[in-house]
């Protein structure tokens, strides 16, 4: 297998679980929990690093994932004291755990290859170099195994608990009332996010994994109104960011994981601008269209009230608009055959215009 392909497949195996789990983080308005967990698992990563020699990838994943759960539990506990709000709780817990990780690295890991740079930014380009060797058998790239397990786990969680995640996210009160414990669902999700973050740190790093967790779901959210489609779309966007990011990085010779995050951010910006239903462009066009038809209707009604024959200047004064808006609305009505200008400066309604002016007042929408 070519090194290129190994890197791309690894990135895809990071993007898929992140997109699936991130969708629920975004919908639960807990995006910052993803950020917090990705940092707070650092001590877990350090411990896992020491244990992974003897225990293999699965055990260390679970061990490190425990730190993510610890983060979620501590944040919850701190918030429940009623003395600290959720945002501050998150800030306190994750920085404390992150600091513990920094301490562990500088104290115990200074002589092995585990530096902060690596933990924070990852180095996906090395993934072809790390093979998983059991006994003397080469089982292929280590990242395939780690992220393959993580991806399978995320798929199982989301497919098996789709209905539970949905109800706990939309209406935790009802979920609790019908016995589908939202607390259990919350910790399962947090556990899954932790495992994903720990698994992904080696390739994209603890910081950039947040881009994969949040950007594709946030983009998908702008493009659809259905949860199932949001999951699918966000997965697709994550995979596209990974693949496109890799080839862009390769052609420009820049950091691979960074480029992938840039592409994910680029997709988001595009959706924010161009989404047909929620995009800024569509929104402002809709706004302008409404304003135009609103102006036209007001103008016709006022013209009618003024006895159906008046001058542009009088209209201006009567409506209290600046001259530009009046002439724009007039030009608009003229094009629509609603008014006539029999003489310079004079305005009258056509029959069609009179009907439009006196007809039922359409609600302004």
């Amino acid at each position: 297998m070519s090194p290129d392909l190994i890197v791309v497949v690894t990135a895809v195996l990071v993007a898929v679980p992140c997109a699936l789990l991130g969708t629920f983080l975004v919908l639960r308005q807990m995006s910052m929990m993803g950020d917090a967990i990705s940092h707070a698992v650092l001590p877990g990563i350090v411990v896992a690093f020491f244990l992974s020699e003897s225990l293999g990838p699965i055990t260390s994943l679970l061990g490190a994932g425990a730190f993510g759960l610890l983060t979620a539990a501590l944040v919850e506990a701190l918030k429940n004291t009623g003395r600290v709000k959720e945002d501050a709780s998150i800030g306190i817990v994750f920085t404390a755990l992150f600091a513990l990780g920094v301490f562990l690295i500088s104290r115990f890991a200074s002589d092995v290859h585990l530096d902060l740079q690596h933990v924070l930014y990852g180095e996906i380009a090395f993934s072809p170099l790390n093979a998983l060797i059991v006994g003397s058998v080469n089982l292929g790239p280590r990242s395939f195994w780690t992220m393959g397990i993580v991806t399978a786990m995320a798929l199982v969680v989301v497919l098996l608990l789709y209905k539970e995640l949905k109800i706990a996210t939309f209406d935790a009160g009802l979920a609790a009332a019908v016995g589908l414990s939202p607390a259990l669902v919350h910790y399962l999700l947090m556990g899954a996010v932790s495992v994903t973050t720990v698994g992904a740190f080696d390739s994209v790093g603890a910081v950039l994994v947040v881009a994969f967790l949040i950007a594709p779901p946030a983009t998908a959210y702008l493009l659809t109104d259905k949860l199932a489609r949001m999951l699918a779309l966000s997965t697709l966007l994550g995979v596209a960011s990974a693949v496109l990011g890799y080839y862009l990085a390769a052609s420009m010779d820049v950091a691979i994981a960074g480029m992938m995050a840039v592409v994910a951010g680029g997709f988001f910006s595009l959706a924010l601008l161009l989404s047909p239903s929620r995009g800024l462009v569509a929104n402002s066009l809709r706004h302008r269209r409404n304003r135009r038809s609103f102006s036209r209707k007001l103008l016709l009604a006022r013209l009618e009230a003024l006895g159906n024959r008046t001058t542009e200047a009088e209209l201006c004064e009567n409506l209290g608009w600046e001259a530009g808006r009046v002439s724009r609305a007039l030009a608009d009505a003229l094009r629509g055959g609603l008014v006539l200008k029999p003489a310079a400066g004079e305005v009258t309604l056509t029959r069609k215009g009179r009907e439009a002016a006196t007809g039922p007042q359409a609600p302004v929408r």
């Binding site: 789709y162 949905k166 009802l174 609790a176 009332a177 019908v178 109104d225 949860l227």
Partner: protein, 254 residues
């Protein structure tokens, strides 16, 4: 005024609250509250802000551990009687921008019966559609929920409670922020539930409508001020006891 109720107590009341005291921190929100709701009644729970109405619902549903006392549903703790209870939370308690449609929200009422892992199928869809029809919202089944008006959203919530096919319905301010027409439609629905043998408990804010809409009333202000049939206990005296001072809403009530 009779203080002793004459109806024979049924084997197990749909909702019985005995000696419930609950507190957030050291501040008690409910103090030694006891009452018993007879089956097949429309019951309003009223009281000023901070009187503990929502806390009472939380205790009943086992979402909050009382400091003392207990609440039972058909003689059992809530966790053993979930299937008998339909719940309608406050409309404002959920995010209406959630990516889903009206039919899907109604289907959520069936998730409890499905239990863990089982996915809703065709039967659940049909059942949910039936409930949407009952609240007159069938044509909005596929509508994104943020595109619904407040009154329509409230009806979706009621349809969801219908789907739960419960015997006791707990509803938290179903009339909040809906127009007159919707309010009448909701009252009709609550009466239908009662006619079908259900018991409906409503956390309610509008004192003026209590005599029109409800059979019984629970008047709370941290402690229980009064509980019983509306015509007996919904008096100027009891209400001003709970709300403090003169209450002008009560011009018609006596």
């Amino acid at each position: 005024m009779r203080l002793v109720k004459t109806e024979a107590p049924p084997a197990a009341s749909p909702l019985e609250v005995s000696g419930v005291t609950a507190a957030y921190g050291s501040e008690p929100v409910l103090w030694d509250v006891s009452f018993r709701v007879p089956e097949g009644q429309l019951v309003a729970v009223v009281g000023p802000n901070g009187a503990g109405k929502t806390t009472l619902l939380k205790v009943v549903m086992g979402l909050m551990e009382p400091a003392a006392g207990r609440a039972t549903v058909f003689g059992k703790p809530f966790s053993k009687a979930r299937q008998l209870v339909g719940y309608v939370p406050q409309r404002g308690s959920v995010d209406w921008d959630f990516p889903t449609d009206a039919l899907d929200v109604v289907q959520m009422g069936l998730y409890g019966k499905l239990g863990w892992f089982r996915r809703p199928g065709r039967r659940e869809r049909e059942k949910a559609m039936e409930c949407l029809e009952k609240v007159g919202m069938a044509e909005f089944a596929g509508r994104q929920i943020s595109q619904l008006s407040g009154g329509q959203q409230q009806r979706i919530f009621l349809a969801r409670a219908l789907a739960q096919e419960a015997r006791l319905y707990l509803t938290d301010e179903p009339f909040a922020g809906v127009d007159y027409k919707t309010e009448q439609a909701i009252v009709e629905l609550l009466r239908d539930l009662k006619a079908a043998g259900g018991t409906v408990v409503v956390v309610h804010h509008d004192l003026a409508t209590v005599p029109d809409y409800f059979d019984r009333v629970v008047i709370l202000n941290r402690r229980l001020v009064a509980e019983g049939p509306v015509e007996e206990v919904f008096t100027r005296e009891n209400v001003s006891d709970a709300y403090g001072g003169a209450v002008s809403y009560l011009a018609g009530a006596e």
